[in-house]
């Protein structure tokens, strides 16, 4: 029976490799019962999105200076 620690580990591993059928089942079952881990499942995916966004545009603040009128 997967607990949160094991489930979160599986969710992280799922970003790295395919989970086995048994792992998928165990994870799904846990998620049905655990709202905290459901939140985690969304958030761990969001982390990947943030990282990709960050690495493709490393300084979101960098463009502000160029838009001002009258800048020499």
């Amino acid at each position: 029976m997967k607990k949160c620690r094991g489930a979160t580990r599986l969710m992280s591993d799922a970003l790295e490799r395919p989970l086995t059928a048994a792992e998928k089942m165990a994870l799904r079952t846990h998620l049905l019962m655990c709202g905290s881990c459901r939140n985690f499942s969304r958030q761990v995916v969001a982390l990947r999105d943030f990282a990709r966004h960050f690495s493709r545009q490393p300084d979101a603040a960098g463009d502000t200076a160029s838009k001002a009128d009258g800048e020499d």
Binding site: K3, C4, R5, G6, T8, R9, S12, D13, L15, E16, R17, S36, C37, N39, F40, R42, Q43, V44, A46, L47, R48, D49, F50, A51, R52, H53, F54, S55, R56, Q57, P58, D59, A60, A61, G62, D63, T64, A65, S66, K67, D69, G70, E71, D72
Partner: protein, 201 residues
């Protein structure tokens, strides 16, 4: 030459002034140094990337686009260096702490500790539009143990595959996955505490 006329008035002078280039170069060196753990290799990679990228930078109307472009080239150079190391079996072993945030976040039976339970994040899609969010993100990255940070960045920023990372560094697949898990636990917790649970910004 004046910059007036709006975003479509593209001149090299506006976009690529010394201050902008200086800042860009600093960020690039920091990024490359973190990935390569070698000052002179990092400097070389940055130099080559800048020379290559700036040849085409006149096509861009926004500095942010120039940055994205330059960093894309830099990342490719870094990836090439890392792959080359792997081929030449110059595996670099990673020192650094492995400490496990799971010890702190979960109780004896493997459940989340009450105070650490993930709550919903309000509008994560809009967070990315905030400059402040990205500063917080950087702070959280800096808070990761070096080994975990480096592996996380190789995987998530450089988008290297697991086996490429394992081949170029002396880390097993299972150790890599453990490190990534720990990095994610920490990063999620940090963003949660410092951004998402702080209320609207």
């Amino acid at each position: 030459m004046s910059g007036q006329g709006g975003a479509l008035n593209v001149t090299d002078n506006d976009l690529l002034d010394e201050q902008f280039l200086g800042q860009l170069r600093r960020q690039m060196v920091q990024f490359a140094r973190m990935q390569l753990q070698d000052e002179s290799l990092a400097e070389d990679a940055v130099q080559e990337a800048l020379i290559g990228a700036l040849q085409n930078a006149g096509s861009f109307a926004r500095r942010a686009a120039v940055k994205t472009w330059v960093f894309a080239i830099l990342k490719n150079k870094i990836v090439d260096i890392i792959r080359q190391r792997a081929r030449m079996a110059e595996g670099v072993s990673l020192p650094g702490e492995d400490d496990d945030p799971g010890e702190r976040l979960f109780d004896q039976s493997g459940h989340w500790n009450k105070e650490d339970r993930p709550n919903r994040w309000a509008e994560p899609d809009t967070a990315v539009k905030s400059e402040h969010f990205w500063r917080v993100f950087e702070v959280c990255l800096d808070g990761l143990p070096v080994k975990q940070a480096r592996l996380f960045m190789m995987r998530e920023f450089l988008e290297l595959e697991s086996d490429e990372i394992c081949n170029s560094l002396e880390v097993s697949t299972s150790n890599l996955h453990v490190m990534l898990f720990r990095a994610r636990l920490r990063l999620r917790e940090c963003l949660d505490k410092r951004w998402f649970q702080e209320g609207e910004r």
